[in-house]
């Protein structure tokens, strides 16, 4: 083990991180298999800009009448974000609303193209960012499972057994062949959850701990989720629940106005974030 770790430690020091500290802080179920994984997220100086399409259309119209635009067209979403995440990292991202946490996840998952910097992601990324994307209320539950696999580009993995597993997990039984619009909210989100989780992630991205439905399903899904969280080589969560984060993570970062402002061990970072949020609230 030490032989394998030696170069890694050197690399991490090179990048300003100390993986020995991370390993010391890691949860009890830390697996050697994870360390052997070659999964990696390497973001360097990432810049992402959004576009105010309304301002842009206005600009063109005003250009015709010879006036200058009032509003800027580009909206900075992420500015100069550098982040290296290695196997074994259980990363929590903290930040106020609109600070760019979810955008950062979307850059990692590849949904957002970048405007500057370099992005390197090695490993099977499973973003459980927004479950039930593309669910169509007119179609049957069974059909929606297939659609969600298609939209995630994972049709290759879609089989009868997976479908049955999903139906069983969501506890939908015969109702699976009814249109989704006849489902209750709880049933629909159970289906969304179940059809998203039967994957083997090397890099797991979570936007808040997902829990829906009645108490027993919440417990079942939380247990399952935590298992996935432990199994993945790299796990990243965006959350506002500090308690969860302190339990789950061995590293935390803070985002502020599209920048990464702090990086370190969870207790310190959470305390820092609470100070920041408090200052923001009383400001």
């Amino acid at each position: 083990m030490s032989v394998r770790l030696a170069p890694r430690v050197w690399q991490d020091q090179h990048l300003g991180l100390d993986s020995r500290a991370l390993i010391a802080n890691s949860p009890d179920k830390f697996q050697v298999g994870i360390l052997m994984s070659n999964a990696l997220i390497n973001l360097q100086n990432i810049v992402v800009n959004g576009v105010d399409t309304q301002a842009r259309a206005q600009t063109l119209r005003q250009w015709f009448v010879g006036r200058k635009s009032m509003r800027p067209i580009n909206i900075p979403i992420l500015t100069d974000v550098s982040l290296v995440v290695r196997p074994g990292d259980r990363l929590g991202i903290l930040g106020l609303n609109g600070s760019g946490k979810s955008s950062l996840l979307k850059v990692i998952s590849g949904n957002y193209p970048i405007h500057g910097g370099t992005r390197q992601v090695i490993g099977n990324v499973v973003p459980l960012i927004e479950m039930g994307a593309g669910f169509d209320p007119e179609l049957s539950g069974r059909r929606n499972i297939k659609v969600s696999y298609a939209y995630r580009g994972r049709l290759r993995e879609y089989t009868q057994e997976i479908e049955q597993k999903i139906i069983d997990f969501a506890e939908l039984g015969d109702k699976i062949d009814l249109p989704l619009k006849t489902y209750s909210t709880g049933m629909a989100s159970r289906l969304a959850f179940a059809s998203a989780i039967f994957q083997q992630p090397e890099i797991l991205l979570l936007d808040e701990i997902f829990a829906a439905g009645d108490a027993s399903f919440v417990e079942k899904s939380t247990i399952y989720m935590k298992k996935k969280w432990e199994e993945a080589a790299i796990s990243i969560i965006v959350s506002h629940s500090h308690g969860e984060m302190e339990k789950l993570c061995n590293r935390c970062v803070i985002m502020l106005k599209g920048r990464l402002v702090a990086d370190g061990a969870p207790p310190d970072i959470i305390a820092e974030y609470q100070r920041m949020a408090h200052a923001h609230a009383t400001h």
């Binding site: 800009n49 959004g50 576009v51 399409t53 259309a57 998952s109 590849g110 949904n111 957002y112 193209p113 970048i114 405007h115 370099t118 992005r119 390197q120 992601v121 090695i122 490993g123 099977n124 973003p127 960012i129 927004e130 994307a133 593309g134 169509d136 007119e138 179609l139 059909r143 297939k146 659609v147 298609a150 939209y151 995630r152 580009g153 049709l155 290759r156």
Partner: protein
């Protein structure tokens, strides 16, 4: 699975990068995804209506009846089997125009889904083409059987129809992708398309045969890409003859230009696309 985003250096890496999206077309899961999306949109449209799929046939059938009454009985076009002529040209025009109109909205309308999904977004316009093709197939089959029963004898040339539809389908898929990816940047594209198509409808020999036009105007039609695309289909369906080499080559030429231009538009637009929808 490794993904590094950096600009390729050197001629060959750049070339491979340039043709990579075409390699995706060899992936059977890509087309399966497109088929699933197309099936969904068909199901969604007809699921709760009483006549369901019959509407797919009824709508073009009524149009053909109306046009044939107006143009062959009232305007008296000098053309044999006018209904068959409409089956050859009008149905293809409807295929083309429905795809081009739909493509401008295909991604904008589904913005919320698209922002979250990970599959290549080109499947959405490609699915639109498949869906329009399905409608075309059904209405063509029904109308042609009708024509066989009541109007004309069977002509084996019709078996070549799929061959001459291929350039149209390929061109349409490319153009649909380009329009779908350009539309978020230029929101007016949908309106431009509506106007352009309604003008082109009358500038293209769809309701009238090219022979109805004066001799000196006809060469101008060689600049109408819609006409060039539809011409071989019309020859096979209505005239029942093999299209001339000239017709086939011009059709392939228009297809090639469409694909190339569309691909360039796609390359330019795809980068920041997500931020505009």
């Amino acid at each position: 699975m490794q993904h590094i985003e950096t600009a390729p250096r050197g001629f060959w890496p750049a070339f491979v990068d340039w043709i990579r999206p075409f390699m995706r077309l060899a992936d059977r899961y890509y087309f399966m995804t497109a088929i699933i999306i197309a099936q969904n949109s068909v199901t969604r449209q007809y699921r709760d209506s009483f006549l369901g799929i019959i509407w797919t046939i009824l709508q073009p059938a009524v149009q053909i009846v109306v046009y044939s009454v107006i143009f062959s009985r009232i305007m008296r076009f000098p053309i044999e089997n006018y209904v068959l002529y409409l089956i050859g040209s009008l149905l293809v025009w409807q295929l083309i125009s429905s795809v081009l109109l739909g493509a401008c909205n295909s991604i904008i309308m589904q913005a919320e889904t698209i922002k979250r999904c990970i599959v290549s977004l080109t499947v959405f316009p490609v699915a639109d083409v498949l869906r329009a093709l399905y409608t075309y197939g059904i209405s063509f089959a029904v109308m042609y059987v009708y024509a066989l029963v009541f109007l004309v004898p069977f002509n084996p040339m019709i078996l070549l129809l799929p061959v001459f539809l291929i350039p149209i389908i390929v061109g349409l898929m490319a153009l649909a992708v380009a329009l779908a990816f350009a539309a978020p940047y230029i929101r007016d594209l949908g309106d431009v398309m509506t106007v352009m198509l309604s003008v082109s409808f009358w500038l293209t020999p769809i309701l009238y045969p090219i022979s109805a036009m004066p001799e000196d105007v006809r060469p101008l039609y060689e600049f109408n890409p819609f006409y060039i695309m539809i011409r071989p289909v019309s020859a096979v369906v209505h005239d029942g003859v093999m299209p001339s080499e000239y017709m086939i080559l011009t059709q392939l030429g228009v297809m090639a230009v469409t694909v190339l231009v569309s691909y360039c538009v796609y390359r330019v637009c795809r980068k920041n696309f997500v931020y505009y929808i």
